[in-house]
Amino acid sequence: MGEWAIRVADLRKQYPGRDGPIDAVNGLDLEVRVGECFGLLGPNGAGKTTTVEILEGLNKPTSGDVEVLGRRWESQATEIRERIGVTLQETRFPEKSTLLELVGLFRGFYREGLEPEDVLGRVSLDGKANSYVEQLSGGQQQRLAVAVALVGDPELLFLDEPTTGLDPQSRRQLWDVILDLRNRGRTTVLTTHYMDEAERLCDRVAIVDQGKVIALGSPADLIARLGGEHVVEFAVGGGEPPPDPSCFAELSTVLGTRAEGDGYALTVGAPHRAIPALLDYLEAAGRPLARLTTRQVSLEDVFVALTGRHLREEEADAARASKPGRRRRR
C-alpha cells in the first residue's frame, strides 16, 4: 500500500443546478499519508463533504482519479469498505437499540474487527453499553458514531464534522478520542469548519474553498506563511470616514492589513514595535483608539487572508452587517 492512504488527482463533481451545472468539487488534488490526521478545512458548501463522500464510496465523481488505501472504488469496493470507518454528519441510529447491540450489529458486517465492549470503552461510553440510543446526549451520540466507525478496526477513518453543534465540553471529549486514535497511528481524515479543532488535532490541513485546495500544510506551516505570528486588532473612534486599511501597511513590522468587523486586523512580526508605531500614527492623525487587542495568529486568519472571507458564515454575516456596502476582499 505504501506511503499514501489516499491519493486524489483532479477530482471533479458536477451537480445539475437550476442555473446550469454546479461544480461542487472543481479540480481537487489531495494526498494523505498513512498514519497522519489530515484535516479538510473550509466553509460550508466548499465541497468538503462531497469530496469525503467520494472517498467513502458513497458518491461517484464526475471525473478524476481516486485511490483509497491503494485500491479503487470501481474494482475493489468491498475491500475498501472492509478497511475504512465512516461517521456521517448526524446519523440517527435506531432509538430503541442499546449501544452494545448497535455496535455489535455493525461488527457483524466486518470480517475482522474489535470487540464491541472495547470500542465503547475507547470512546468512554462503556458505562452506557446497555442504555438505549435515545437516552444519549448529542455529544454521546457523536462518540457512539465514532465507536460504530471503529468497530471494523479500520485502517482509515473518516470523520465528517464530528463536533458541529456540540457544547465545548463534549467537543473536548471527542477531541480526546481523536487524539487517542492519532497516537495509535491510525490514519484519520477530518472535515471541520472549526479552526481551533484543526489546529489542535491535525498533522496537516488542506484548506478547501469553492471545490479546490487553496492551501496545504501543517497548521504551523500555514500560519507561518502569513509571516507574522501575532494579530493586532483595533478600532478607531471619531466621526470621520474610517481610514483605508492600507494606511497601516507601512508601520513597523506590519506584514498584512485588513478591515475586520468595525475595525482593523494587522498581522505583525513584533507587537512591541508595531503597537507604539500604531499609537503614534493615530495620535498624529487625530483619531482616538476605541479598542486594542493582540492575539496569536490562527488558521482563521490564514483562511481570511487567502479568501477574504470568514470560515463560518454567521461570523461573516455579522462582519458584513456591521460594515454596510464595504467589501472585505482584497
Binding site: R92, P94, K96, L105, R107, G108, F109, E115, G152
Partner: protein, 357 residues
C-alpha cells in the same frame, strides 16, 4: 453475542425495534382487536328489533295502549318482534315525528277510526305501520287466511362478524407491509442510516432480506390475534385449511412488502411517503370489500377492483375460512396468481430504482 452474521444481526435488530415500542404494539394488535370487538358487538345477532311508535293520548287511546302493551309483553317472552310504545300528548308526538325521534304516530279518534302519521320514505316507519296495523286488525277480529311461520337465520359463518374478521386480517397485512417496510425505509433514509449501512461491507441483499423476514415473522401474531378473536370470542368456524390461510397470507404479505418497497424507493421525506401510502391504501379500503362486499360496486369497475391485491387477499381468505375452499379452487388460484404478480413486479421495479442515499 456480538458476532452475529449480518443477516441474523439485522433481523434481530428489526424484531427488537418493534417489540420495544409499546405504541406500535397497540396500533398493530390493540387497535384491530378493539375494532373487531366493537363492530362484532354492534352487529351481533340478537332478538329482532322492536318497532317503535308514539300513541297520542286522548279519550280513546287507553284500549289501544292496552292491546299494544299486551302484544309487546307476549312477543318479548317469545323472542319475537315487540312494540316499543310511548303514549304522549298530540303536540309532543307531532314534534317527535318532525324531529325524527319516532317514526310513527298513531291517533285513535273517538269515532273509532285510526290514523297513522309517518314519513313513507323511512323504511322503519312503513314497517312499524304495517306491524301495528296488523296487531290492531287481528285484535279486532281479522283472521289471516294463510298460516305463516318465521325462521331467523343466525348460523355462525354467515354473520357480519364472520365477514369482518378476514377483512381485518387482510387490512392488517396491507398496513403492516406498507408501513412496516415503506415507512421504515424512508425513516432510515432520512436518518442517513441507509447511507451509513452502505458505507460498510454489509451485503445489501441481507439488509432487504432481514426486513422481509421480520415482516413475515410479525405476520404470525398479526394473523393469530385476529383469528383467535374470531374463533374464541365470536365462535367463528374455520371451514378450510389453516395452512392454506398461512400460504395466502405469506404471498399477500410479500405483495404488500413489495409495494412498500416501491413507495420507499425514492421518497425523501415522511410527508411524501405518508401521502403515497394513503394514495395506495385508500382505494383498497374503499373498493376491496373490507367492510362490505366488493361485488356491490358496478360491473364496469370490477376489473380494476379485482386487480387490487387487497381484494384478492380478502377473496381468498373468505373463501378458505368461510366456504372451505381448497388449494385448487378457482378463487384461491386467482388470488395467489394476482398477489404473486404484484410481489414479483413491485420488487423488480423497486430494486431497480431504489435509492440507497
Amino acid at each position: 453475542m456480538s458476532h452475529y452474521h449480518p443477516l441474523l444481526g439485522l433481523y434481530v435488530s428489526r424484531l427488537r425495534e418493534f417489540y420495544r415500542q409499546p405504541a406500535r404494539l397497540f396500533w398493530v394488535y390493540g387497535f384491530p382487536t378493539v375494532l373487531a370487538l366493537g363492530l362484532g358487538l354492534a352487529f351481533q345477532s340478537r332478538v329482532p328489533e322492536s318497532v317503535q311508535a308514539d300513541l297520542v293520548r286522548n279519550a280513546a287511546s287507553d284500549p289501544v295502549e292496552k292491546v299494544l302493551r299486551d302484544y309487546d309483553a307476549k312477543a318479548r317472552a317469545g323472542r319475537k318482534q315487540g312494540v316499543q310504545l310511548r303514549v304522549v300528548p298530540e303536540d309532543e308526538a307531532m314534534k317527535r315525528l318532525r324531529t325524527g325521534k319516532t317514526p310513527l304516530v298513531v291517533v285513535k279518534a273517538t269515532s273509532g277510526a285510526i290514523t297513522f302519521r309517518y314519513d313513507a320514505t323511512r323504511p322503519e316507519a312503513t314497517s312499524a305501520r304495517a306491524a301495528i296495523d296488523a296487531i290492531l286488525q287481528r285484535e279486532a277480529g281479522r283472521v289471516d287466511p294463510i298460516r305463516t311461520e318465521d325462521t331467523v337465520v343466525n348460523e355462525p359463518g354467515s354473520r357480519y362478524i364472520d365477514f369482518l374478521i378476514p377483512g381485518l386480517i387482510g387490512q392488517n397485512t396491507m398496513g403492516g407491509g406498507l408501513w412496516g417496510v415503506g415507512f421504515l425505509l424512508v425513516n432510515f433514509r432520512i436518518g442517513k442510516l441507509l447511507k451509513r449501512f452502505t458505507a460498510t461491507p454489509m451485503p445489501r441483499r441481507d439488509f432487504l432480506l432481514a426486513i422481509l423476514l421480520a415482516r413475515l415473522t410479525f405476520l404470525v401474531p398479526d394473523v393469530a390475534v385476529l383469528l383467535s378473536l374470531g374463533v374464541f370470542v365470536f365462535g367463528m368456524p374455520i371451514q378450510g385449511s389453516l395452512w392454506l390461510v398461512a400460504l395466502v397470507e405469506v404471498v399477500g404479505a410479500l405483495a404488500f412488502a413489495g409495494i412498500g418497497l416501491l413507495i420507499a424507493s425514492r421518497a425523501q421525506t415522511t410527508e411524501t411517503v405518508s401521502g403515497l401510502m394513503n394514495l395506495v391504501m385508500l382505494p383498497m379500503w374503499i373498493f376491496s370489500g373490507l367492510f362490505f362486499s366488493a361485488e356491490r360496486f358496478p360491473e364496469a369497475a370490477q376489473p380494476f377492483i379485482q386487480a387490487l391485491p387487497l381484494t384478492q387477499l380478502l377473496n381468498a381468505l373468505r373463501a378458505i375460512m368461510l366456504e372451505g375452499a381448497g388449494p385448487t379452487s378457482h378463487v384461491v388460484l386467482v388470488a395467489l396468481g394476482v398477489l404473486s404478480a404484484w410481489a414479483v413486479g413491485t420488487f423488480l421495479v423497486a430494486l431497480r430504482i431504489f435509492r440507497w442515499q
